[in-house]
């Protein structure tokens, strides 16, 4: 077997608590399918037959009900354990027998996965990852007061001339004094392109030896936060390239341990035939200096930068809204579910999606919206640019614009909701007028 797929679905969705306080993130509906369906669909399309899913008990029940042809091996972890992604890999270490493809549950993309995996295969890389251009979110996000915040911390990504080899990766948060680049990198790759407008898709191909390495280095708990920058740095560290004897006199114990651990990453005996091949092959990945291919380095990290196509990571409210807009393009289910009852005199726009068992009454107008399953929409309702989740009841005469209504909410008659986020099971009293608010939890209804 060549690759095993691991789907990380235990994350909490900490950046959109308003949506996820009641529903776990993997089950958030996007385009009327749970979020976790999208990466599973991607893996299925590409040809995977089994996936290891790491998630919590709540999600497990739902996941097993999904209609995917993959064989899902669900591993439950405690939500309270607050495991990082690397910790999770350590947890399932016994199931891992070959190189792995780690995917995050909030990735919605139509990337040609073979591009990433080809880099991994062709160059015998230790890490291959996917990045795409950051998406500009143009829709108004409910509940956001004032201008958009400074934005998340930027990532600085350095790639070589071909745009494939990953030379440098750091997050703005870690660079207090400015960007420092080691001389060893510049000597080997004098031309480096540093990009900042990139979104990490959290899709990684990792070699099996990395999992073994994680076993020994229990201090690494997050793949994205710690493991990847570590691997990228270690490409150019002296201990990887020169076979120094392990027992250097002036190294303290800790360093010795780390060196010993690094050797796991390097294939210890690079098969003599592979060496012979490389020696006889007249190929080099760079030119201009006297070194052989890959500068003799055994640890290589590659990145595939997606130029076109869709790639979203649904970890903020803005991303969630955008993804709802774009996700339907990924599958070709009919926009109006066959079991939905849509009255004749209603106006359902072509870019709207109606879920199963919905009831849309007369004289309603639905434009650019997503209506979840089992939702009831009474007469004379106008819904624009909104996301209505499952089980919602919208009474007559409502006007909902640019909002997100979570599951099982009830919107009273003639309510006017603009750019709001209505939490799960909330009730909006009739004749209410809300603009740009987040209505969740025990936020009581206002009295008119």
């Amino acid at each position: 077997m060549e690759l095993q797929a691991v789907l990380m679905a235990a994350g909490g969705g900490s950046r959109m608590m308003d949506l996820t306080y009641n529903t776990p993130k993997p089950l958030l509906p996007v385009g009327n399918k749970p979020l976790i369906w999208y990466p599973l669909n991607l893996l299925e399309r590409v040809g995977f037959e089994e996936v290891i899913v790491i998630t919590t008990k709540e999600v497990q029940k739902e996941v097993l009900k999904l209609d995917v042809k993959l064989k899902l091996d669900v591993v439950c972890i405690q939500e309270e354990a607050d495991m990082g992604t690397a910790d999770a890999l350590r947890h399932i270490q016994q199931k891992i027998k070959t190189d792995i493809l780690v995917v995050s549950c909030d990735l919605i993309t139509d990337v040609a996965l073979h591009e990433v995996v080809d880099l991994f295969r062709a160059h015998n890389a230790t890490l291959a990852m996917l990045m795409s251009k950051v998406n500009e979110f143009t829709e108004t996000v409910p509940g956001q007061k004032g201008k958009k915040k400074a934005g998340e911390q930027r990532d600085f990504v350095g790639v070589d001339g071909t745009g494939k080899r990953l030379l440098f990766m750091a997050n703005e948060a870690d660079l207090e004094d400015g960007l420092a680049i080691r001389k060893s990198i510049m000597r080997k790759h004098p031309r480096m392109h540093i990009k900042t407008g990139l979104l990490d898709a959290h899709l990684y191909c990792l070699k099996r030896s990395v999992v073994d390495f994680l076993l020994d280095n229990k201090s690494i708990s997050s793949i994205r936060g710690e493991l990847v920058p570590y691997l990228v740095r270690k490409q150019f560290s002296k201990s990887m390239n020169s076979q120094r004897p392990k027992d250097d006199a002036d190294q303290d114990q800790k360093k010795k341990d780390r060196n010993a651990n690094l050797d796991i990453l390097v294939p210890s005996k690079d098969d003599s035939l592979l060496e012979l091949t490389r020696e006889r092959s007249c190929w080099n990945d760079h030119r201009g200096d006297m070194s052989e291919a890959y500068h003799g380095g055994k640890l290589r990290c590659y990145v595939h930068l997606m130029e076109e196509g869709m790639c979203y990571r649904v970890n903020t409210l803005a991303a969630y809204i955008e993804a709802n807009r774009m996700a339907p393009k990924l599958f070709d289910d009919p926009p109006v579910h066959p079991s939905a009852v849509v009255a004749e005199r209603s106006l359902v726009g072509a870019d709207s999606i109606i879920g199963a068992s919905c009831q849309i009454s007369d004289k309603t107008s639905i434009k650019r919206s997503t209506i979840g399953a089992s939702t009831t929409v009474k007469e004379k309702v106008k819904i624009t640019n909104s996301i209505i989740m499952n089980g919602v009841t919208i009474e007559e005469g409502c006007n909902i614009q640019g909002s997100v209504i979570c599951s099982n909410a009830v919107i009273g008659r003639s309510a006017d909701i603009k750019y709001c986020l209505v939490g799960s099971s909330q009730r909006i009293e009739p004749e209410a007028e809300r603009t740009n608010e987040v209505i969740v939890g025990s936020d009581q209804l206002m009295e008119i």
Binding site: V46, A112, H114, R121, A122, D271, L274, T277, S281, N284
Partner: protein
Amino acid sequence: MADAKEKEEPNQAPSINHTADGGDSKNEDVGRSKTDGRELTKEEKQRLRKEKKQQKKGKSSKEDKGSSEHDQGKGKKPVALPESQVARSPPQKAAGPTAPAPEAPAAASSSSSDKPTKSKAELKAERRARQEAERASKAKKGEPGQQPSSSKSKAVPSELQPVVKRLPEHVQVDDPAAIRKLAKKLERQQIPLRSDYGNKVSLFSHLHQYSRNAPLTQQISIPSTVIHPSIVQLGLQYSQGIVAGSNARSVALLHSFKQVIQDYTTPPNEELSRDLVNKLKPYISFLNQCRPLSASMGNAIKYIKKEISNISSQCKEEEAKIQLLECIDTYINEKITLAAKVISEYAIEKISDGDVILIYGCSSLVNHILCEAFEKKRKFRVVVVDSRPRLEGREALRRLVKRGISCTYVLISAVSYILPEVSKVFLGAHALLANGYVMSRVGTSQIALVAKACNVPVLVCCETYKFCERVQTDSFVSNELDDPDDLIVTRKGKTHLQDWQSVKSLGLLNLVYDVTPPDFVDLVITDLGMIPCTSVPVVLRVKNVDQ
């Protein structure tokens, strides 16, 4: 050897890998040759039938019938009659379907044409051993006779009916029937078909032309189940040019085969010797789709298949695997590593102090020779000639300069300028054909031509495992077309050829190989010694007899 392999294959496994055969096919005449394997298979079957008949009826006139028939039947082929008749006597064993007997038919025939005396004795001995089964094959004698000799199609000793001439698939791209056949075969093996790309120059429209941006891995599932992962990796490395060069490709191929063998388990009710060969066939098709097989790879595959078929059924799986892995290691050691050593020793004799040596492109063997010569304290300097679009000379330049050899670097357009300074030319080869032609990187024949005109000796260095029983007199018949987009270059921000596909009358041609006639080559240095170009068929024959 090769012949035997070919002959046996059809008997054991009907679905022959077209490309493997094509790769090894001997005697490709301009558009008219058929592979030995094909003919012989039919021949074999016919022969067996005939034998049975003969035993009952005792015909002896078949010989005459056969000869006359093959004179007529192969009207197209410029059959040399006397040759075929002479050839008929010794190479009787040609058709030897029976045993994995070393095929001296090829040897026999060549021997008959070249040096009848010595080989005839050997052949007679062999013939006696096979006389029982061979009487009927007299008609077929003509066939093997033709094989190795240059530029003739073999006379098909078809006594009963004219044998279908078959061209290898890879030179029949403009024939829709051949393409359909290939597509069907690939479908059966569950390998995706790679589609051609771009306008082809009409003179080369019979060859495949692929784009590097459309790799074959797009069409297979990502954790590849049908094809072993190391083969997928190898195919990718071939198509992207990461593993390039005849020796490197063969070594990488054998390395992958080692992985395949290690991971292989015999299914129940199957024999390792047959099943493993069948398992390898789709892999070879896949690799061929990624990049057409080289002659050295073809020979390596033949060797492996032979070794696998020779595993006795008593052998346990573990032992068989260990044995096979050892065979592969021995092959690489003998044919590549030790051969390089021996060739360096011979070649170093030819390098004298004060020499100016010209090399072309990046041949691993020539680089090895020069480095060894430098170690042995010979004083010489090197002129590295390079050409677009591959620019492999830069890699050769880097390796030589790293060792400390003083080098000059020119492009091929400056060859006639630099040649008066040069005292010797060392060239590497991709394959040596049975008629003495040298198949090498495109541009080699030009260098040889200019060197000849300037009276500079040209020495070709080539290991014997690259000797191929094919025959070619020009570079058009069978060649490889690389990605035409490699020719596009951006200078000062302008890419003039960016939309070359929209100009219907424009075709970009990126040839990979060309053939150099033996008149331009003064010496071939092989691990068997230093031989003239015309002795290649002899070496092939000797190899076949040995095996």
